[in-house]
């Protein structure tokens, strides 16, 4: 990425199209990313939402979106996007609206819906080649219900439904699941890497078909860290290699940032309450080693 690109995207992220004063938690990594995303997708969009933290952005009679918004339900936001897209196509084909009245359906869900209940609707929407953008803010748990385990919860993380030893499984690989469907575009991103996020979103917007932007969303309340440390934590997610920044298009996966000298995962884990049991009262060396090995194994297989 050149300096020029960075400068351009940096300017774009300062528009502030998404209104201020939302009821999101202080230090919400998802909201940070959404501000950047909204500046780029613009207001000719219909955000189709499934139940999650971001549902609380639009509370009657207020909305921070200068574009349109449709709340559906947890399992079916991609189907809502399908209905909007199909209807707009019909209206365009029959000359009942003008091309400038067209809009982009953007699905906006948390990981609970994206990785779990809504996965069937998502898979089918990709199969149908739906022309839409899917934004998932991944805070690795059911956020606004008090942070219970979701299929996006990473190994070892404590949640309200995995309280003692933390989650025993591994985080579901949504990037791979999407890629296996051969959609137009899939990318991971994070709000604390705005240039990378902006470049990916611009690329997604230049394509048509099913497109996913999977955004890690550091969550102060769910993960247990001070809101002021959100940016630090997001940067560590990338520098430790825990959150690989990558994209899929034309059948190829490409990493957009390969951390040359990865920081130890403990740098990231020890800042968060959800991993505290791995450090105190005694350091769980076996588990920490296993978590480090998982990350090392991942990067070992990257060209």
């Amino acid at each position: 990425m050149s300096e020029q690109d960075c400068a351009g995207t940096g300017k774009a992220t300062r528009q502030g199209l998404l209104g201020a004063g939302t009821p999101m938690c202080a230090g919400c990594g998802g909201l940070q990313a959404l501000h950047q995303i909204y500046d780029l997708v613009g207001d000719k969009t219909v955000f189709v939402n499934a139940a999650g933290c971001m549902t609380l952005l639009s509370i009657y009679p207020f909305t921070p979106f200068p574009g349109s918004w449709l709340y559906t339900a947890m399992a079916c936001a991609p189907a809502g996007a399908q209905g909007v897209r199909d209807a707009l196509d019909v209206l365009l084909a029959k000359g009942r609206i003008q091309p400038e009245q067209d809009q982009l359906p953007v699905v906006l869900t948390g990981d609970g819906s994206a990785y779990g209940m809504g996965l069937s609707a998502t898979s089918a929407a990709i199969d149908r080649g739906l022309d839409f953008l899917y934004i998932c803010y991944d805070n690795e748990g059911y956020g606004n219900t008090g942070h219970q385990y979701s299929a996006a919860t990473p190994a070892g993380a404590r949640t309200a439904t995995s309280r003692v030893d933390g989650y025993a499984g591994i985080k579901k690989d949504l990037f791979a699941i999407w890629s296996a469907h051969r959609p137009a575009y899939v990318a991971t991103a994070i709000g604390t890497e705005p240039a990378d996020l902006a470049r990916k979103l611009k690329k997604a917007l230049s394509l048509s078909g099913p497109r996913l932007l999977l955004v890690l969303a550091p969550c102060p309340t769910g993960w247990g860290f001070e809101p002021a440390r959100m940016v630090e934590l997001g940067k560590l997610a990338v520098k430790t290699g825990i959150w690989p920044l990558k994209e899929y298009s034309d059948g190829q996966v490409r990493h957009t940032q390969v951390p040359a000298r990865r920081k130890p995962v403990t740098d990231y884990l020890q800042l968060q309450g959800r991993f505290r049991h791995l450090f105190a009262p005694v350091r769980d060396t076996d588990k920490l080693t296993a978590l480090q090995r998982q990350v090392d194994d991942y990067w070992e297989h990257i060209d």
Partner: protein, 409 residues
């Protein structure tokens, strides 16, 4: 033009004549013929609509509602488990206050899984905010679809409408159906006007946003209720317009030979044609009986029922459904509607036709006789399941084959 059509084909013709724009679909027996027919018309260019196969009824109804909210005329259809799978979104779509028509082809619910009809599927949706029309003939299926669009799209209503027909008994029965011309339908049903509340670039709309607290929630839910109540008045207006336009009656409640009737059958759906036949036979035998068959079930035409039932001696309410632990749903609703009436008739509850089980002529005669006796004694009989000893013996035989303890005892 008259054509021999199944109930399913009649439903498809209703959508075609309404010139629908969008068909989100998913197959399920016994409604599949509807979407297959529409798909064929779309493929051949006979219907200028977009057809999208969704992966479930839940998604199908979501897409239907979202498209209606974007401003196109939408038609879709399902049955049974499909309707229940979509149930969450029925409430949502009604809450979005968007008009569309959903045809349900009734079928008994699992478990045990079965294909033939009863009304537990459609009655499960009765509190969802979808208005409900129930058909007894193939002609009525077509007519109901056309009327449903007028009702749904009326600015005083703006609610989705569910049109019900019985699986197998109506879905696959061929009857002569009068097909109106496209021009004739256009004169009755003008093009869909979405109003300003739809998605357009440059004209932002927020649809179905969250509310905090019970105050705004109560307000919006109650507005939906008021619209449904208003739909009753609008229906009467439209049914009159329909009758004038198409020369066929379409009242909220069909009253068959009720003028001087002392004992009435009340039931919905295609099995009511059996009741009509029984009424004719009983009339031949000198008994003053009649039939009331609501076409409109939501909003519940309570006032009309009261008018038609006041002063009658007795009523046999025949429910093709079973509210587990309570009994018949229509019976309960009718009893509630009649409670404030001083001279109310004796109500008797019968449950029959579950999972497509027949209701025989003899059973209709027996029900009329039971109600007559109840009128004489002034004592309503307990609710009764229409089920014969012979059927019981057959089930016992099956249980013996299955090796269950009940069968062996």
């Amino acid at each position: 033009m008259r054509k021999l059509l199944t109930g399913n084909k009649a439903a498809a013709w209703g959508a075609r004549l309404a010139e629908v724009d969008y068909l989100p679909v998913f197959p399920i027996t016994p409604q599949t013929e509807i979407i297959e027919t529409l798909a064929e018309w779309v493929d051949r260019g006979e219907l200028d609509a977009r057809l999208t196969t969704l992966e479930s009824e839940h998604s199908m109804v979501t897409a239907a509602g979202a498209a209606a909210a974007t401003g196109v005329r939408v038609f879709t259809a399902t049955s049974s488990q499909g309707l229940l799978y979509a149930m969450e979104m029925l409430y949502n779509v009604a809450g979005w206050r968007v008009p569309l028509v959903l045809v349900n082809v009734s079928r008994g619910l699992s478990a045990p899984i079965t294909l033939e009809p009863d009304h537990n599927d459609v009655l499960a949706a009765r509190d969802s905010g979808f208005l409900q029309l129930h058909c007894a003939t193939c002609q009525e299926v077509l007519d109901s679809v056309l009327l449903a669009y007028r009702l749904a799209e009326d600015k005083r209503v703006r609610l989705p409408v569910l049109v019900n027909l019985d699986g197998f008994y109506l879905s696959f029965t061929r009857e002569p159906v009068i097909l109106p011309s496209r021009e004739q339908v256009r004169a009755f049903l003008p093009a869909f006007d979405a109003g300003s509340n739809r998605f357009r670039g440059g004209e932002p709309v927020s649809q179905a946003v969250a509310v905090l607290g019970g105050g705004p929630y109560s307000y919006f839910r109650y507005q939906t209720h008021l619209a449904a109540v208003e739909a009753g008045e609008v229906f009467d207006e439209l049914s009159e317009a329909f009758s004038n336009h198409f020369d066929r009656g379409f009242k909220a409640i069909e009253d068959y030979r009720c003028e001087d009737a002392e004992i009435l059958f009340v039931m919905i759906g295609s099995f009511a044609t059996k009741a009509r036949e029984a009424v004719d036979r009983l009339r031949d035998a000198g008994q003053k009986v009649g039939l009331l068959r609501p076409r409109l079930l939501r909003p519940f035409p309570a006032r009309e029922f009261v008018r038609l039932l006041s002063g009658r001696a007795g009523v046999a309410v025949i429910d093709q459904n079973l509210s587990t632990g309570l009994g018949g749903i229509l019976y309960t609703e009718l009893a509630a509607a009649l409670y404030p009436v001083p001279r109310r008739p004796i109500l008797a509850s019968f449950i029959g036709g579950l999972g497509g089980r027949d209701i025989t002529a003899g059973e209709f005669y027996a029900m009329a006789e039971q109600v007559r006796q109840a009128v004489e004694t002034g004592q309503a009989p307990p609710p009764r399941l229409l089920f014969t000893d012979q059927e019981m013996q057959t089930v016992r035989g099956l249980q013996r084959i299955a090796g269950s303890e009940e069968g062996e005892s």
